[in-house]
């Protein structure tokens, strides 16, 4: 990890008698994870034999179309990111009891999935993490016959770069990462990410929140410096690290679950996602506080979050049915009303709250969106970011 010049073929040379996964499955902390691995056992050994390749090697559907639906659904989602009414409706109409687990960054999600034993039936990775999951054999190939509502998915999202043809993923919603602030604290009106980083140093007493995770923090910092957020240039990443370190003294919290605190008025200045911030803006407006979300003219991150079924899912039929429900315009409209992000399902516009559809912070101007950049993830880029992020966190 800390040697960038490490040859790529080391992986080939690595003795295969014991992969890290096997070691963890069977070793100590691991006797426990054996328990937890439960039914995931057989599918994980499939993956291992593939040596990290794709899990989909046959044309046979991953889940038989006529399989009965299970009685449970374990959903790992970002915190507060789906309408609880939809969980209830799912249980009421189809039976499976829904359990929700939360996480705060794609890094955290991938680590959980890769360690095995998490047993999630549905996860919500961002585009680049979907790609990583597919490459690592961590995603289950979808049986589209179980998802008839797939016809409602907007055409643009059937041709994504990370999963063309929706073999493994279905877009959940999309958004933008940028700065936001309370106008009673920040008197200026910054128009670029860089100006925001600079202003952090001016408002020393402002309560500042950053998002979690190395990919997320470096995406914003690299864009602010005018670099691509996918940069793999150690020099550029170093500059981004310096930028982050220079503002670290003014950062109060690093937490992706920032909606409740923002709604209480406890965040003055921060980095966030547009829909979450839109919810904060609405709540604060009731208290006559003005909160602004920056939609810069320069590149910043545009992301698409997706529904994916992990390879070891214990309730794959229920998971397919869940995705199908989320592609139903009525349920999708409820989602949009709840989390305040556009859902790429045809027919939602007529059913969702008009105020949300008309909100420029949520439905961002297409011309601006076209300038924004989407993340890709490579092991090399990730290693450079992880090490630099650790320095930022430990500083």
């Amino acid at each position: 990890m800390h040697d960038e010049n490490r040859p790529d073929d080391l992986k080939v040379l690595a003795p295969r008698w014991l992969t890290r996964r096997q070691a963890l499955y069977t070793g100590g902390a691991s006797a426990l994870s054996l328990w937890l691995a439960a039914c995931g056992g057989s599918s994980s050994s499939d993956k291992d034999s593939g040596g990290g390749g794709s899990a989909a090697t046959t044309d046979k559907p991953s889940v038989p179309t006529d399989a009965p639906i299970e009685s449970e659904l374990l959903l790992a989602n970002w915190v507060d990111y789906s309408d609880p009414a939809n969980y209830k409706a799912f249980t009421k109409d189809l039976g499976p009891k829904v359990t929700v687990d939360g996480y705060g960054s794609n890094d955290e999600l991938l680590a959980k999935l890769n360690a095995g034993g998490s047993n999630f039936d549905i996860v919500v990775p961002t585009g680049y993490a979907v790609k990583t999951m597919i490459d690592k054999g961590l995603a289950l190939k979808l049986n589209k016959e179980l998802i008839p509502n797939l016809k409602n998915l907007q055409e643009k999202f059937t041709k994504t770069e990370y999963d063309p043809g929706n073999e493994y993923s279905v877009a959940k919603d999309y958004g933008v990462t940028s700065f936001f602030w309370r106008t009673d604290v920040v008197k200026e009106s910054p128009t670029t990410l860089m100006e925001c980083y600079e202003l952090l140093k001016k408002y020393k007493d402002a309560r500042v929140n950053f998002l979690e995770g190395s990919t997320q923090n470096f995406a914003v910092a690299l864009n602010a410096l005018g670099f691509s957020l996918n940069s793999e240039d150690p020099g550029e990443i170093d500059k981004a690290k310096e930028l982050l370190l220079s503002v670290k003294p003014y950062v109060d919290t690093i937490n992706s679950t920032f909606i409740p605190r923002g709604q209480k008025g406890d965040i003055d200045f921060g980095i966030g996602w547009n829909g979450d911030v839109a919810r904060i803006i609405t709540t604060r407006a009731e208290k006559d506080d003005e909160v602004v979300f920056l939609l810069p003219d320069e590149p910043t991150e545009f992301w698409v979050d997706n529904w994916v079924i992990p390879a070891g899912a214990r309730n794959p039929v229920a998971a397919h049915k869940w995705i199908n429900l989320m592609l139903d315009p009525a349920a999708a409209a409820k989602e949009t009303d709840y989390h305040a992000y556009p859902v790429p399902v045809t027919g939602v516009e007529g059913l969702a709250d008009k105020a949300i559809i008309a909100n420029p912070v949520i439905y961002v101007d297409e011309a601006k969106l076209a300038k924004y950049e989407t993340q890709l993830q490579t092991p090399k880029g990730q290693q450079l970011r992880d090490r630099a992020y650790t320095e930022f966190k430990a500083a």
Partner: protein, 360 residues
Amino acid sequence: MTTAEAHSASAPAATASGRRVAGALLGVAGVVVAAALYTQIGSLGLGLAPSVALLFVSMPLFVGLGLVLARRGGADGGRGRYPLTLAGPSLAFYTAFFILPLAFLILFAFATPVGFGEVSYGFDLSNFDAALDGIYVDAFLRTLRFAAIGTLLTVIVGYPFAYWLARYAPAKRKTLLLALVIVPFWTSFLIRTSSFLIVFSDSFFLSRWLADLGLTDGRLDILYTNTAVQIGIVYNYLPLFVLPVYATLERMDWRLLDAATDLGATGWSAFRQITLRLTAPGLITGALLVFIPMMGEYIIPLVLGGGRVDLIGNVIGRSFLEQQDYAFGSALALLVMGALSVFIALYLYLSTRSEQEFGA
């Protein structure tokens, strides 16, 4: 077992220490064999239930090893007839959940990470090199500072209370008072820690009272700072300190103090020369009992530090749970364990000495 007995029969003249060494070596060899066995369970492709069954069937192997080890060591002392089987369950448990994970930790620490959680085994010192980098040493020193200040504050807050409880508290009320110390300890650790989010918030009365008293200028501004983490640490570990100290103070013969006063000692010197020295073992135990977990504290900085205060436990946790850098995390964990062992050795030395001086 049979091998071990044959071995001892062939070397009747071996000294006790020689046998112990042989026993220890045998134990190590056995653990290696068992570890190899464990790694194979997963690759047999038996599925979950048979794997778990095999795991637990292989446990007695460890128990057997432990027995061999213990017998080698104890046979000459004339005390070889202890019912060693009693140690079996804990031996099996610690082997499976402590010694084996530790072995894997060592294996990972010397491996080369190849990205996304995979490692290539070998003898690679670069993880240790990276872990000894300035920022991690700083994080370790910061943790050491938190733990040292935390322990000191715990002693300052906890010792007088334990003293009062043991000596002056009305006998009828003692049980109740002790319960008051223990009950919060039964509450979920996370809830206890999270409750401070409310206590420190601006809308709680504490913030307003302090502002009304003129101690703060409007905002308490303590949440998500080092201070909040430090308070949370002391609060959470206090019962762990009070209980062992109370136990030693409870056994104190207070007439010794009367005797000392009769012989002309002032209250302070009687306390210093008698009470403090007699309760030193409890005091040291209590202090170490809170210091060690404080060094590994992970949750409190996460909750009360707002993700901004990074202790060494958080660095290690993140390398496993977010960055999937098992090799680096293992190396760092081993270094921290090594450093902490020094404190434990110090504790053993100090407590044995004070026990020998005064008896228990």
